[in-house]
Symmetry: C2
Amino acid sequence: MIETAFPGPASGRPSRSALARAAVAASLLLGLSACVTASPQPRPMPVEPDGGTGATVPPAMQWMYGSGESGASSLQAYDAFRDHVIRVARARPADSVVLAASATLATPVYVPCGAKPLAVMLDVDETAIQNLGYEYDEALNARSYDQERWNRWERTGAAAVAPMPGAVAALRAIRDAGVTVIFNSNRMAANSAQTEAAIEGAGLGPARHGETLYLQNDIGPGSAKDPRRAAVSARYCVIAMAGDQLGDFSDLFNARTLSIPDRRRFATGGRFASLWGNGWFMLSNPVYGPGIRGNFDDVFPADKRWSDPQGGNR
Amino acid sequence: MIETAFPGPASGRPSRSALARAAVAASLLLGLSACVTASPQPRPMPVEPDGGTGATVPPAMQWMYGSGESGASSLQAYDAFRDHVIRVARARPADSVVLAASATLATPVYVPCGAKPLAVMLDVDETAIQNLGYEYDEALNARSYDQERWNRWERTGAAAVAPMPGAVAALRAIRDAGVTVIFNSNRMAANSAQTEAAIEGAGLGPARHGETLYLQNDIGPGSAKDPRRAAVSARYCVIAMAGDQLGDFSDLFNARTLSIPDRRRFATGGRFASLWGNGWFMLSNPVYGPGIRGNFDDVFPADKRWSDPQGGNR
C-alpha cells in the first residue's frame, strides 16, 4: 500500500516509521473528525469507486484533481495573478501583455495600452474550471479524447465542474480593482449559453458571450486564439493573461515548425522568461494538451541519460 | 499525429488550419534555424529514440521534462520565491515559515525568528534539480520505482541531472541578498558527496552536508523532514521553503489518518491557503510522489460526475 501510495524517489516516500510518527502526531493534535465535519465538501459514498469496471484513475488525474500539491500550485498561481493585477492596475503600463501582430518568438512586441480600460484574459478549461465530470467519464471508461464527446460535455456538463483552487477569490479581487475579466476559450460558440452557465455556476462569472467570453469561431475561424486577443486588445489594455497551455498566451508557440525542445526553450528563455508570474500566469495541467508530447529525444537531452550500472535494461 | 500530439479538450487542440497559419507566421517571422543555432542545448541525435525497446515516454514525464508549460510553471514559482525572499529579507519577520512542534494542520504555529540569520530551505529532487537520467532509464525500460536502483542513481547519476527552470538564477539572487540556502532532501546521508556534486554540478551550490545540506538519517532517523527543519530553525530564521510535495513543508501532511480529499482541503484551505507563493512555494511534479494516489472517490467528488448521454460506458 505504501509502495503504491508513495512511488518515486526516496524524497517522496516517507518511511513507515515516519508515517507512524506523523499519524500519532495527527491523532493526538489534529482532531480529524471535527475537521472532516468542518470540511466544505462531504466525502463521496465509497460504493463501487470504479463503477465495477476495474478502471483506475490515471496518475496525472490523481495529481491534478486529487492532490494537495496541485491545489497548492493553483492557489499559488492565482494569488500571484491577483497581486500582480492589483499592483499593475494602480500604475497604468505603457504596453499590454498581448503580443502584437508583428511579434515573433525571437523578438516579441506588445500591443500598446493607450488610454484603454484595463482587462485580464484567461482560458477556461483547466485554467478557470476543473472539468471533473468529463475526466471522470474518460477515466472510468478508459476512453481517449473524443471531440464529439467533448462537445456533448460542453452542452450537458455545466454542473459537473469546479473552480480551479484560488480562482474564485482572485477573479473577485481583480473585478473589485476595476479590471474586466475576459475568458478566451476554444469551447464552441454554439454552446456559449452552457459555457456561460459552467463559468458562472463555478462562481467565476459574469461571462457574457461576445463581451467577456470569446469562443471558437468567434472573430477568426478555428481554434487560433490570437485573433480574439487582437480584438480584445483593440478595446482593452490587457495587463495579465492566465492559461494552462502556451497557446493561451500566443499561437506562435503552436507553430508546427517548432520542435518540442525549442518550444520549451522559447517559453523559458530569452524575452519570455521574465514574463512568467509577471504578466503571464501558467496553471499546471499534466492531464491533456500540447505540452504532453514527445519521444525520448524530445524529452531527455542526449547528455542527461543514465543506465542502471546493475543493468536489467530491456 | 495531431490527434496524439494534442490530446484533451478542444481548448488544447489547435485545428490543422490554426497550426498551418501559425507555421506560416513562424517561418515568415521567426527565422527558426538561427534560433536553433542560438539555442543553449544541441538537439540529441535521433538514433533509436526508444533504444529499440518500443517504449514510450509516460505522459507525466512528457509534460514535466519536455513541455514549455512545465518549464514556465517552474520559472514562475522560482521568480516568486526569489522576489518574496528578497522582499522579506529587508524587513525581518517575527516568525519563520517552519511549523513549530506544537502545530497541527488545524492550528498552525510557527517557529519565531528572534535575531537568527536568515535562510531558505528547499527540497532537492524535482524541486532544485530534474532527475533526467533516472527517469530516462525508468521510462526506457518501463520500470517502476525501485529504492535500490534509486540508491545506485544517487551514487552514479550526478552528471545526468539538470536544474529546474529558474532555480539557478533564483538561488544566486537569494544568496546575493545575504540569505543562506539550505537543502533538505531524503537522499541518503551515505551518498552525501555525490548529492553535493549533483547540486553543485547543476549550478545550484554550494551544498555542504551538515551545514547547507540535510539528508535522510541526519538528525532524526528515516525520511521525516520535520526534525531537520526543527534543527535548522534553531540556528536560522527560515523565511521561505520550496518543494514539490507537501512533506517538504510539514510531515503532518503525510499523516496516514489523513484522507486524500482532506489532505487537499488542508493544503488549500484555512490557514495554509495564503502561504502558497507567500512563504511556501510549490513546484509542480506529476511524475512521482504522495500526490499521485487515489481511487475514483478520492479524486472525483460524488457531486461532480458525468456520464456521456450517448452512453458507450463500459
